[in-house]
Amino acid sequence: MRGIKLTLSLTYTMLKGNGLANISGDSRKKSKWVSKAGNVILMGLLAVYMSVLTGVSALTLRRLLEPAGLHHIIIGLYISLAAMLIFFFGIVYVISIFYHSSDTEKLLPLPIRADTIISAKLILTALYEYVFVIVLIVPPLLVYGLAGSEPWYYFLSAAFVVLLLPVIPLCAASVIVMLIMRFTPFARDKDRFSMVSGLLAMGLALVFVFMTQTFSSYSQEDLRQLLQSGIQDLSDLTSILFPGISTATAALTAVSASSALSQLALLAVLSIMAITVTLITAKGVYYKGVIGLTASASKQMTLSDAALREQTRPGSAFAALLKKDVLILVRTPVFFMNNVLMNFLWPAFFLVPFITSSGDIGAYRTFLDSVDYSLFSHYGTIFLAIAFAVACFLSGANGIAQSALSREGRRIYVMKIIPVPYKLQILAKITTGFLFSMCGILIMYILIILTIKPDILFGLVLLLVLPGAAILTNTAGILFDLIWPKLHWDNEQKAVKQNMNVLYGMLAAMVFAAVALVVSFAFRPPFIYSAAGLILIPWLAAFALWKLIKWMGPRQMKLLDI
């Protein structure tokens, strides 16, 4: 009894200190509540959107498969998909909550058994998974049952299945992670883990977009056949990976109440067995895996005189500031995922539809292929404005300039003590943003050239137009961070994710994009004027903003107190 009380008390404490109860981290009380309410509303809207999406997908699939009498396989599809996703997200959650969360180090010296800590952390992880399960599996099961007027025991089974479904995949993830952390050094590096898991998640998102586009070009009959064989393969795989998950499907597709109940009982027994195995594993390996995790080992290596000279060779202060910013952006997982990777992902997201050439987008592509991209073409003018607008969006979305000072946090004092004029330091930060923006913009440019194959002169004009978007958005972006830098944060996420300056910078970028589009569509200037305007005006505007920054920046920097 005392063990259960301790477990629940630990769970509550961890919950209070973790994301679910601590969505926002702003130190000021009023803005904390405003930010919290904003996040809750945003998450609520996202949950409603996802629920509608999964519910509608279940209805569509049922209508597609019902004529062939195959609609029951939908249950297998959702259960298998949910189990797989719970497992994959479980791996990430378990590494993060069991090993890398800040409370772990504080719990270790306390006289608490490993299985008690793991029980509490398992409950916490399950709570995160339930949020996910409610959005992913409840709407389809409900829609499926209501659309087919399923009997009462279907809904009862559905309630139990929702409750028990995360247990087995989550326990499987926990056992695998505990064994990996005990016997292999890979996942012990927190930075490396964050980088790899983030890249995997981005990769999955890209695959999802690609597959959605591919499926939309299939005929109904092709899709039916594909679904039937695909679902069967998926169900077989999940039955092997998570023994017992098939009982959830069996309970939901049972033809009688007694059969459903017996399958549910079996699922409950298997779930209890999974928890027992997890706790036994925890007793054996958890402490050995987690102890010493925060003390990062490093190689001891003496630099030769030549290497030391090479690695300390002189350079300008501007180059030093630029390099420092670039290295920190690339090496800090949160900054890398939010600021750097975005530059490479957005072009891919934009262009996947054009590459797959499916459905309505195929028609757009045909249209784009027919456009005359020459110096005096009217469509060329419009396309130039669209490309400039997309470049503005890409550049504004990376948030690098908008969080340039915020990312320094309390270390901003270094900017104040070094003998480098503030305007040069700010220029280095704008340049960092410009360089990363240009990476994304150049990828977009190359993909545009490869996909729509414009003539050489048009391609050259486009190449001259796009950097203007990058310089204008980055110069405007840093203004927001100079005025309202968010320096008081305890984890890096807050500098870039919970920073309104990033949003303001994106809005400014959208305004620049909108101005270019409106002028091009409304006034339809000749191509030569349009090109000259899009090349010169952004640079002139950026120059004017730079004049303002040169005047305002040092004053703002002097006012900053940490």
Partner: protein
């Protein structure tokens, strides 16, 4: 040389964190800046290093005004902060190169100096590692290396002994002495009165934004007509300045 002329700083309308301070730290001396928590030590150091701008007065580093010529004045000092957790994802050698470039340290001097200081602080084998893999003490030593790389005339340290092992602490004290003996200035704040007593040529005691005492240890003993330890004299000085508080207790 550091010179503070009538320096004041307030965070609210009524309370002055630092109130009209005048202080002169000469070349060739180690100057200890002492005071209880919230006395105004950190605010003063922040103003000397340019992190904060004084509301009134001016600060001169080697006779260069922080107000009129801040960039040139900043070139003259090296600063070791109390929190050494900066740029954890840079490698130690990258941090030192950054400091070398920012302070424009000549090529030959920087590699020789880095090698020499790394050997002294036993960091030679760790220069290629990221700062985040360093212990608190190692980070503190790296900050010291960064601050001294450009051989500054003035060396400012905020609570420098925190986190250092006895050997490193001893070495730091030696380095401070060598710096002062070469005709340069060392200014540091500390809570560790023993250290101040042992290595400082002069000390200043600050409380509630005012300098209560400034002079040599001998001056302080004469002031109190006593041969007691610095700790005893420090406590008496601070208590004397707070009669109403001591009366309440």
């Amino acid at each position: 040389m550091i010179e503070l002329n009538n320096i004041s700083k307030s965070y609210s309308k009524h309370i002055k964190a630092v109130d009209s301070i005048n202080l002169k730290v000469e070349n060739g001396e180690i100057f200890g800046f002492l005071g209880p928590n919230g006395a105004g030590k950190t605010t003063t150091i922040k103003m000397i290093t340019g992190i904060l701008e004084p509301d009134e007065g001016d600060i001169f580093i080697n006779q260069i005004s922080m107000r009129k010529n801040p960039v040139e004045a900043k070139r003259s000092f090296g600063f070791v902060p109390d929190d050494p957790n900066i740029f954890p994802r840079l490698k130690a050698i990258e941090y030192l190169r950054f400091m070398g470039n920012v302070y424009d340290v000549p090529t030959e001097a920087r590699s020789v100096k880095i090698a020499k200081m790394a050997k002294r602080f036993e960091l030679t084998e760790s220069l290629s590692n990221r700062i985040q893999s360093f212990s608190h003490g190692m980070r503190q030593k790296l900050m010291i290396m960064g601050a001294l790389l450009h051989a500054p005339d003035v060396w400012i340290l905020d609570e420098p002994m925190t986190g250092l092992d006895p050997r490193s602490s001893y070495q730091l004290k030696e380095m401070m002495r060598e710096h002062a003996d070469s005709g340069k200035t060392v200014f540091f704040s500390t809570h560790v009165l023993d250290v101040a007593e042992r290595i400082c040529d002069r000390v200043a005691v600050i409380d509630q934004g005012h300098i209560l005492f400034c002079g040599t240890m001998e001056d302080m003993r004469q002031h109190f007509h006593s041969s007691r330890s610095l700790e005893d004299m420090f406590l008496q000085l601070v208590e004397e300045m707070r009669p109403e508080e001591s009366g309440q207790v």
